[in-house]
Amino acid sequence: MIVAERKPFSEILSMVEDYSKILVIGCGSCVTICMAGGEEEVKLLASQLRMAFRKNKRGVEVEEAMALRQCDDEYMNDPVLLDKVRAADIVISMACGVGVQHATTFFNRIILDKPIKVVPALNTTFMGANLDVGIWEERCVGCGDCVLEKTGGICPVTRCAKSLLNGPCGGSSNGKCEINKETDCAWHLIVERLKALGELDRIKPVEPYKDWRPSHNGGPRRIVREDMRI
């Protein structure tokens, strides 16, 4: 899933302090699961904002809303939600960066009588797994050319601090990465896994230079599935 963290309150407040009708929209997918931008977090942020404005003695309305997925028209095209957006001066999206951008585009496509400003409440951090309660770790950088079959199901592009493709650097120590003793050395894990699988020969040849074109390397990537187009 996409993992995100909420921005510090002071930063969010500074984005909206000149407005008087604020709408906070949560997202019901990834950021709900990682507890950064779901219904509970919307409630919390909205009350923090109300309290801050009450302290400033400014009459500010803070509304709350949810969309199941802010990255998909289907879940955004909700008349109740759109009415709330129309009534607001500014929208705080608690979705990931995808949701914030999609909300901006979608609302401005549907609502034509005034421009809609959408600001982010989260820092979108990575695509990762939930390792334990309250712990998430990055697992995929979306390089567009998956090598996991060769590397024992452990991604060196994502999990090696240098994205090395040909084995562990000289900084691997006791299974940990030299840049952070909390982080496993990805290549240590890979060579041990391949050894266990009896597949060490797989990484004997020099891995060719990576073609970074399918990665984030030239503007937004796009997929068009002709079989799904009508």
Binding site: L164, N166, G167, G170, I179, V191, K210
Partner: protein, 307 residues
């Protein structure tokens, strides 16, 4: 000859070589490079010029190599994968070659979080093993890696590093084998202190026949003090300093640790010279260049052989 460098010629002749190391200044001071170069001249066969080591901004390796050459020494240009993509690397390697640089060392590079600009974005377009392969393609196929022909002659003696003490220990000989497979001509190892463990490592290398496919230079660094030894053992990945070595430094008494450190180093150098599979020494006397003549004399490695 692959490069025509002195380093290559001496190794081909079977001479036991010694390379030194010089870190360029944190600024444009050419005199600083010249000063260190003069201390090393006549005492080593080639000098590694580091490439922003520990990710701290310094004068470029290429420029410092040129200054070194003008002083009459032969450089071994280090290049890291951290700061350049393949385009910049090949371009800089052409530039280096045009200036007469004939040895280079292909490295991954210390991660930028260790340096003075931890907020920088790293590159790591290709890794150190791919860099070896890239330079070999340029030299032997006379092409850049896209397949386009190179204009003009290109020669280079291709080096790489090896840390025998990093983990997983069992994989380290296989990693060296991969560098050989990629086409490396010579290897310089990380600083060796644990001679027993290094001997075990070299036995595996010799059993695999890797010492016949590339020249292996054993890396050494003098210990200046007990504090330095303790610091390195605790903070530098892949550095193992045996307790008995630290005890020797302690036993030398106040003010004598540096002399004892040099004595230990000279003993190591002599032992390494006799070790099967070792073709030379890479002497990293970091910020101790002025002691190199004395070290080389004491170790019995002077005068240096003529090409």
């Amino acid at each position: 000859m692959k490069s025509g460098s002195n380093l290559e010629s001496l190794l081909e002749k079977g001479e036991f070589v010694v390379t030194g190391e010089l870190g360029p200044p944190k600024g444009p001071d050419a005199e600083a490079v010249k000063k260190k170069a003069r201390m090393l001249k006549g005492n080593v066969d080639a000098v590694n010029i580091t490439d922003n080591q520990t990710a701290i901004v310094r004068m470029s390796s290429i420029a410092a190599c040129k200054i070194l050459m003008d002083e009459g020494l032969e450089p071994n240009m280090q290049m890291v994968a951290r700061d350049r993509n393949r385009i910049a690397m090949m371009s800089d390697i052409f530039g280096a070659s045009a200036l007469g640089i004939r040895n280079m060392l292909c490295l991954s590079g210390d991660h930028q979080t260790f340096g003075n600009h931890p907020e920088a974005k790293n590159v790591f377009d290709i890794d150190s093993i791919q860099m070896i392969s890239m330079v070999k393609t340029m030299r032997d196929e006379h092409k850049v890696i896209s397949g386009d022909e190179i204009e003009g002659d290109f020669k280079m003696f291709i080096g790489a590093a090896c840390n025998p003490f990093a983990d997983p220990a069992w994989y380290r000989p296989l990693r060296l084998a991969k560098k050989v497979e990629a086409g490396v001509d010579f290897i310089q190892t990380q600083c060796i202190y644990d001679m027993k463990r290094f001997k075990e490592f070299m036995k595996q290398i010799v059993d695999m026949g890797l010492h016949e496919k590339c020249k292996i230079l054993a890396g050494v660094t003098p210990l200046k003090s007990v504090g330095m030894a303790r610091y390195m053992a605790a903070n530098v990945s892949g550095i193992i300093i045996p307790e008995e070595m630290i005890d020797r430094l302690k036993g030398a008494g106040k003010g004598n640790a540096a002399t004892e450190g040099i004595k230990i180093l000279c003993e190591q150098m002599q032992e390494l010279k006799e070790m099967e599979g070792i073709a030379g020494i890479h002497l990293m006397a970091i910020e101790w260049e002025h002691r190199v003549p004395e070290i080389m004399e004491m170790a019995g490695f002077l005068p240096r052989p003529e090409v």
